[in-house]
Symmetry: C2
Subunit: 455 residues, 2 copies
C-alpha cells in the first residue's frame, strides 16, 4: 500500500455540465472530512454510497457536489477512494482540485490510479494496459479487443500456458535433485507435444498483431488514379458514409493529414489524402515517387479508372505490377457516362477484383464498402480470438517463442535437465513480463506514462 493520497480531474479536460475529481489513498476520507459538509445528517463513509453537500474553503462555499464513497479493497485502485462530482466549470474543477491538494493530496501522475490498481493486485499488467487502449478506442473493433483484454481474456490464455509449463518444470527440477541417477520424471514426449502446442499458440498470437495493429490504427488504403478520374469525389463519398463519428475522431486525436473512415466499426486510414486532393500525379508517370510511396504504405490499393478509358488495360497492368503483395481493387468510375465501358474479360483474366461505380451518383459505394470490409480477417474478430495490439506483448511473445525453440532443439538433442529447465523458465518469464509478474520499474514507468491523467 502507498502512503500518499493522489488526486486528479478524471473527466475530459474542458467545461461540461459536470466534472469528476478523483481521490485515492489512505487519507481520502480524512481530506473529504475537512472540506465537505453534507446537506443533511452526519458524514459517514459507507462503501458504495453517495452524499450530497458542499465543498468549502476558507469558509466560502465553492460548489454543491455529490461525493461517491469507495472503500478498500472494493475500489478501482483497491484503496479508499472518493469521487467528487461537481459543476463542470474550469474554474470550479481547478479550485476543488487545489483544495483537495491543499488538504493533503498530491496531484496524480498519468495512469497512476491504474498503476495502483495493478500494484494492489486488482488487475494484471496486460489488463491495465487494456484500460488505456479502451479509453483510446475509436472504433467498434478496437473497443472490442481492448474490452476483451481488460476483462482478462488474454490473461487467462497466458495463465493456461503458464500452468501447463509449470507442471512440467516441477518434474524436471525434481530430476535435477536426482541428477546423479539419470532418471526422467518428466515425460519427454509429452513435453515435446506441449512445447509444439505452445509454439503454435504463440505464433497465432504473434500473427494476430498484424490485424490488431491495423484495427487499432486503421487499415491503410491508397487511392491512386489520374487527375479528374474522380478521386476527390470518391473520397468525399467515403468520408460522408459515417460523417459524425469520423469528424469527431479526426478532429480530436488524429493527424489532420490522414482521413479516417469507419466502416462497420473498422477503421480505414486513407493515405496522404490531403495530397491526393491537390495533387496532379498521373498514372502514366507511375514511376514517380508519390504514387509509389502511397502504394508502399498501403495494405489496400484502390485504382480509379475512368469508364471507357481506352488505355485502362495498360494502367491496370502497370499498377498490378507495382502493388504486388497488396490488396488491389480496381474501381471503374463514371459508369453513368458510358454504355459499354471496360473489357471485363481482360480484368477477369488478370484475376483482379473490380467494381463499376459512380462516385458522383453513389452507385455501388455500398459494394465498395463491403469489399473493403472483406479484406479484413473478420473471422478472427467474430470468433472472440485474442488479437494482440500491443507491441510490448508481441516482443515478449517473440522472445518466449525463441526460448521455446531452444527447448524443442534441446529435446531433439537430448540436452540435460538443467539446461531444459532454464529454457522453460525463460518462456515462463517472458510470459510473466506481459502480465506483470516480472517487471522492471522502467517498463512500468513507460506503460503508465502514456495514460491520461485521472485514470
Amino acid at each position: 500500500m502507498f502512503n500518499d493520497t493522489i488526486a486528479a480531474i478524471a473527466t475530459s479536460p474542458g467545461s461540461g455540465a459536470i466534472a469528476v475529481i478523483r481521490l485515492s489513498g489512505k487519507e481520502s476520507f480524512n481530506i473529504v472530512k475537512k472540506i465537505f459538509t453534507p446537506k443533511k445528517g452526519k458524514l459517514e463513509f459507507k462503501a458504495y454510497t453517495i452524499r450530497f453537500g458542499t465543498i468549502s474553503s476558507d469558509n466560502q462555499v465553492v460548489d454543491e457536489v455529490l461525493i461517491s464513497i469507495f472503500k478498500s479493497p472494493n475500489s478501482y485502485t483497491g484503496e479508499d477512494s472518493v469521487e467528487i462530482s461537481c459543476h463542470g466549470s474550469l474554474f470550479i474543477q481547478q479550485k476543488i482540485l487545489n483544495i483537495v491538494i491543499k488538504n493533503g493530496a498530491r496531484l496524480a501522475n498519468p495512469g497512476e490510479f491504474t498503476q495502483r490498481a495493478y500494484l494492489n493486485g486488482k488487475m494484471d499488467l496486460s489488463q491495465a494496459e487494456a484500460v488505456a487502449d479502451l479509453i483510446a478506442s475509436e472504433s467498434a473493433s478496437a473497443h472490442k479487443i481492448a474490452m476483451q483484454q481488460m476483462r482478462g481474456g488474454f490473461s487467462s490464455e497466458l495463465q493456461e500456458l503458464r500452468s501447463r509449463l509449470l507442471s512440467f518444470i516441477s518434474l524436471i527440477e525434481l530430476e535435477l535433485d536426482f541428477s546423479e541417477e539419470d532418471v526422467e520424471f518428466a515425460d519427454r514426449k509429452a513435453l515435446k507435444n506441449l512445447i509444439s502446442d505452445i509454439q503454435k499458440h504463440i505464433s497465432k498470437l504473434i500473427n494476430s498483431f498484424e490485424l490488431g495493429n491495423v484495427i487499432k490504427n486503421g487499415i491503410p488504403v491508397a487511392i491512386v488514379g489520374e487527375p479528374n478520374v474522380g478521386k476527390s469525389t470518391l473520397l468525399n463519398v467515403l468520408l460522408n458514409e459515417d460523417k459524425a463519428i469520423v469528424s469527431d475522431i479526426a478532429g480530436t486525436t488524429r493527424d489532420a493529414v490522414e482521413d479516417i473512415i469507419s466502416i462497420n466499426g473498422i477503421l480505414f486510414r486513407l493515405i496522404d489524402t490531403a495530397g491526393i486532393r491537390n495533387t496532379n500525379d498521373v498514372v502514366e508517370s507511375l514511376g514517380i515517387e508519390r504514387t509509389m510511396n502511397k502504394i508502399k504504405k498501403a495494405d489496400i490499393v484502390l485504382l480509379l479508372i475512368k469508364a471507357g478509358d481506352l488505355d485502362s488495360k495498360q494502367k491496370i497492368s502497370e499498377i498490378k505490377e507495382k502493388a504486388r503483395g497488396k490488396h488491389l481493387i480496381v474501381l471503374i468510375n463514371k459508369i453513368d457516362t458510358v454504355k459499354n465501358d471496360v473489357d471485363d474479360e481482360f480484368i477477369n483474366n488478370e484475376k483482379i477484383q473490380y467494381i463499376k461505380i459512380s462516385a458522383k451518383y453513389k452507385i455501388n459505394i455500398d459494394k465498395l464498402n463491403q469489399l473493403l470490409i472483406d479484406t479484413v480477417n473478420y473471422s478472427s474478430l467474430n470468433k472472440n480470438d485474442t488479437i494482440l495490439t500491443n507491441s510490448r506483448h508481441v516482443e515478449a511473445l517473440q522472445k518466449a517463442y525463441e526460448a521455446s525453440l531452444r527447448v524443442s532443439q534441446g529435446l531433439e538433442t537430448g540436452i540435460s535437465s538443467d539446461f531444459l529447465a532454464q529454457d522453460i523458465r525463460e518462456i515462463l518469464q517472458y510470459i510473466g513480463v506481459i502480465t506483470g509478474e516480472f517487471t522492471v520499474d522502467e517498463v512500468l514507468g513507460n506503460i503508465f506514462a502514456n495514460f491520461c491523467i485521472g485514470k
Copy 2:
C-alpha cells in the same frame, strides 16, 4: 411530471479517464434494468447508492461501469435518475448513449435536466439560470456571484420584497370589497415607506448590474501609447502573472483577439491587444480612429509614457481629454533608463493616477495590479451583496421599478384602490418573472437553450 425519460453525456465532450451519462425520468430504472448487470448480487434501486457492473448490448459487454442511483424527489431533477460512469473513450460514451436511447430514453435538449429541476419545483428560475452561469464561470468573482445566486441568495431577497408587498395588497384588495364605503384598511403612509424602500432596493440591484456585467465578461482595459514605449512588454508581463489560468480560458472559450487576465480572481479584458502588438498608432496622431475606438470601449485606460519623454505633459493632457469619464492610469515606463524622469508636480496637479514602472524588469507591476483591482467596487463583492449579471433580471427589475413609480405617484395623487392594487400586482408580477412564478414558454425556451447539453 414528465412522461419521457431524457439522457445525455454530462461530462465535457472529448475523451478522458471517465465520462458520465445522465438519465432522468420515469423509465430510468427500467432502462438500466435492461442494459446493466451488476457484478455481484441483485440489482436494487436504493437511493444514493452505487453499483459496479457491466453495460451490455446484443449480448456484448460494452463497458464496465459504475451506476449511481437517485430516487424522486431527491435528485437534481426531482425525478428518478441514474448516472452511468463509464470509461471515457468517445466511442464508449456514444455507444452507451445510443444503447440508453435504443432502450427507451430520448436525447436531452440543452439545459433540459435543469429545466425539469425548475418545473418540478427543485429550484426557481433565477437559481436555474445561476447553474448555467456557474458552469460558465471563469473567475473567482464570477463564480462567487453565480454560487450565491444558485444557493438562493437573490431569490430570498426577492421573496422578502414579495411578501412585504403581498401583505399590503391583501389589505388594499379588502378595500375593493368595501369600495362603496370609502374605507382605508391599508396604511397609506406605511405603504409609501415600503414602496420607497423597495425602490431603493431595486435601484441598488439594477445598479449592481454594471459591476456584475464586467465581472462576468471582464473589465475592458485599453493600453495606449507610442510605438516602442513598451506596450507589448507590459502586455506579456501582465499575461504572465497568471499564465496557467489565463491560457486555459483564452484557448477554450474566448475570442483569440482579446487577452484576458485574472488578477485576484477578477477578469480584465485587454482590448484589441492583437492589434496593439502589430500596430504603429502614434499618440501624436491621437485623432486617429484606432486609439479613440480603443478608449471608447474601455472602462480603464492605461497610458504608457516613456520616462524622460519631454513631450509627456502634452500627451497626458491630450489623453486625459479623450478619456473623460474613464479610469485613466498613466504608466511611466522604462524608469530603469533614466534618473529624473517626469514632472511629478504636473501630473499631481492634473489629479491623474500614475505609477512609475519598468515592464522589462517587472518593477512596480504588483502596484499596477493593485491599482487595477482598486478600480473595481470591491466592497460590494466582499459584503455578499447581491450582484446582478443577467440582463433578463435587470429588464424585469426595471419594469418593476417603473410600476413602483406609478404606485408612488398614485399615492401622492390619492388614486383609487383598484388602480393602486393593479400597479402593485404589476411589481409582483415582474419580480415573479425573475423567479419563474410568471413565465411564458418562449422565455423558458430561450433560457434553457443557452445551457450545455447534459445539465
